[in-house]
Amino acid sequence: MSGGPSRHRVLIIVPAWNEQDAITGTIREIRAVVPDADLLVIDDGSVDRTAQRAREAGATVCPLPFNLGVGGAMRTGYRYALRHGYDAAVQIDADGQHDPRYLARLLERLDGHDKADIVVGARFATPDDPYKVRGPRRWAMVLLAWVLSRLAHTRLTDVTSGFRVSNRRAISVFATHYPAEYLGDTVESLVIAARAGLVITQEPVTMRARVAGRASHSPIKATVYLFRAIVALLLALVRDWPSQLEEGTSEEALVDIATGEVGR
């Protein structure tokens, strides 16, 4: 925990599902900006050449046998981070939305003056943020941000951001409890983190447009998103956590494996 940021072992987890057009550029950029961090691409059951291109670009690739969604991919990544004793893990999306240049600032906030366990790279944190969202999608984001801010006792403006850094404590929680359900990888995982007593904070970032554009602007889809977000949030809030995930490997077992690995 002590020592400069350079002593930290950082794992960058890149969940990728059918991202063959974007993956090479994303990996090259991460390599150029943060050369001393380890890079783990979780191939989430892609049917295209994502895994092959990621390997060619020099990343370690962990191939899931079928598509699990971002939640499953990220829990795999957190398990890898825990077992290999990383000090920090960060999620960077394969589509190039997350600018790795912010990584240094996010990592600096980790275990900084506010003792943060999780730092979320957040949009909408500054008034001049170019990323604009309107209508029901915006309302959903505002509602989610408000509820989670109350829960985490801090101001959060963008809880659906996947761009986030976790320290050892957060990694060990997420290695066991990282929901694979709708919005589970962002919203519910933050609820779990807050309930586990982790300190959550945010750092303003600017996100880029996706390399392979897919973001929908249909008002019907935005309304459906609003309702699904509300349902996901309510479920996350009322769930009896952590007994809901009795089937997962227990945290203690994972830590045992991790310490065994370190001891060898």
């Binding site: 962990c62 699990l68 499953g72 089937e247």
Partner: protein
């Protein structure tokens, strides 16, 4: 013996036989078989003694005894479906955990092979289509 009674008895006996046969062939685990056995026995009882149904519905104050049958039947089906949903959820969670573990193990094997000077996993054990 009325036609309705024969129909009911035949149906319930068929269910019991199917249940027994499935258990014998290891096609049904006993935790599900128990519930279905109770259901089948209840059907046999009601089919053999329809007066039972009529007396119970009179005691509750139902005018049409069939309504009691429908109500109980729909409740039983709902409970069974709910149980299946919950079992399905648990299975999904287990499958997910297994998939994650397999991915991590595959990665570990790849790294191990690479470290021991084996074939470099450029085109590895990927049986997926390109």
């Amino acid at each position: 013996m009325s036609g309705v009674t024969i129909l009911g008895l035949t149906g319930s006996v068929l269910i019991l036989l199917a249940l027994f046969e499935m258990m014998r062939r290891h096609r049904l685990r006993e935790k599900y078989a128990l519930i279905w056995a109770l259901v089948a026995l209840a059907i046999v009882t009601v089919a053999a003694f329809p007066s039972l149904l009529i007396r119970v519905s009179e005691a509750i104050g139902l005018e049409v005894p069939a309504n009691l049958l429908f109500f109980v039947a729909s409740m039983v089906i709902m409970v069974l479906t709910l149980q299946h949903s919950s079992e399905l959820g648990r299975l999904e969670e287990r499958t997910r955990t297994l998939a994650e573990e397999i991915a991590l193990l595959r990665l570990e094997i790849d790294e191990h092979r690479h470290a021991t000077g084996g074939v470099r996993p450029v085109e590895p054990t990927d049986e997926r289509s390109e």
